[in-house]
């Protein structure tokens, strides 16, 4: 694996995005904002506070993370699939010095970049709402990259496994939606039945949301580092899979 050649693939996606972002940026921006406003202000009117935070304050850090998650997922499911199967972009690139795993690495890094872009935009909005009073929240940028790597990898695994583009509905409805709803963004998972609680301990978004909330209102501490260990292990475990599975799908 040559990193520079992987970056050429990343650069191709960035060039296309630079031309087209005006037509797609709104989609990724408004959806999390609708959740934030509808639930934060609407539902927030009925909820006094959670763990000493207003409801708006409670959900804001999670909305930053989940928008980063969805940005990586859209990119590495639909985006990658179209490049691979319909536009034959992979075929074109593989006729040049670039190798297959470098194409996949380029896709993974591009999905991660999308997480960073959209997570940052939402974070800036939260700053405007005056929800953050903590300089250490800037460390969140590092965790947006983490979020991007994890969810780009999971999405590329889905891309390797789907029989057709329609099947991504299963990935979104049966996999991502539960991860999103049971991540502790909207309510603390402590109140859940203990079986469910232990299941959702595996949810990487749960740990990312924990980190985000801590960085928002407390700052870096031992808890953030402890949660990071889980994320590192999770990432190390899943990151080889997209390379193996996509190779099997594409080259055989």
């Amino acid at each position: 694996m040559n990193f520079k050649r992987a970056l050429r693939v990343w650069q191709r996606n960035a060039t296309v995005y630079k031309k087209l972002y005006r037509s797609s940026i709104a989609l990724n921006f408004f959806e999390p904002m609708f959740y934030f406003l509808a639930l934060g202000i609407g539902l927030g009117g009925f909820i006094k506070e959670i763990n000493g935070l207003t409801y708006l304050q409670f959900i804001a850090p999670g909305i930053v993370m989940s928008s980063a998650m969805y940005a990586a997922c859209y990119e590495c499911t639909y985006g990658t699939y179209v490049r691979m199967e319909y536009q034959k972009t992979f075929d074109a690139i593989l006729a040049t010095p670039i190798l297959f795993e470098e194409v996949i690495m380029g896709e993974l890094l591009w999905g991660t970049t999308k997480s960073l872009i959209y997570g940052t935009i939402i974070l800036i909005v939260m700053l405007f709402f005056g929800l953050v009073n903590n300089f250490e929240v800037l460390l969140l940028l590092f965790y947006l990259i983490f979020c991007g790597l994890i969810f780009s990898s999971l999405s590329l695994i889905a891309t390797a496994l789907v029989p057709g583009i329609e099947s991504f509905n299963y990935f979104y409805t049966l996999f991502l939606t539960p991860l999103f709803l049971f991540s502790g963004i909207f309510f603390p998972l402590e109140e859940m039945p203990s079986l469910l609680k232990s299941v959702f301990q595996f949810n990487p978004l749960f740990h990312l949301v924990n980190i985000s909330r801590t960085l928002f209102y407390v700052g870096i501490n031992g808890f953030v580092l402890y949660e990071s260990i889980y994320l590192i292990l999770f990432l190390l475990f899943i990151m080889p899979l997209p390379f193996l599975l996509l190779k099997r799908r594409y080259l055989l």
Partner: protein, 240 residues
Amino acid sequence: MYAVVGKSLTKYYKNLKALDSVTFSISAGECFGFLGANGAGKTTLMSMIYGFIMPTSGEIEVLGKKLQKSNLPEIKAKIGVVPQDNNLDPDLSVLENLLVYSRYFDIRKKDAFNRAKNLLKFVGLYEWSNANVRKLSGGMKRKLIFIRGLINDPDLLILDEPTTGLDPRSRKQIWNLIESLKHSGKTIILTTHYMEEAEKLCDKIAMMNKGKILLIDTPENLSIKFGGNLEKVYFEMTED
């Protein structure tokens, strides 16, 4: 000096045998044609030459080196590929397609720009530089894919059915391009299912059928040997 040597190349897709012990050698500077019907194994063979498909068994040598994963980028840097399918970037302009492609070869921006400009002039697409590729006709797209394969000034050019689906005028233009490249000393490999095309352009022809090479010879020798035109030879050879 050989540009490409294939030794008993065999390829299975699951249980389907796409290539059956194919052996050939292509001299540097030659225009070598693989002639055969759809499904004869031509594209599989082309994909093997630029390392996209690995043979199930057999060996392949490209530009003096045995093809293996460790030297694949180095070898691919000297090859130009013009694929059968349109895989241009539909969201980019004509010029951007060439520039983005040149980056994969690590060509410096300024050099790439000059090269792209010259190539666009070479095929008469210069006025279309800033047009979106979706706006191009089939023939123009073909020409753009053709010059994209030349952006790295390759020693070996692989043309997979360069004129399939083109109208007679566009086909003539592509033929002229190939003719002019032949004089530049590049090795050219092309696949086709048009006898006329193989006869007109190629120094040597390999006839393929069902994953096998039936014979390899010059167009002149084939005519003498079989006392007729190539079309007749082809139909005789490929009879079921």
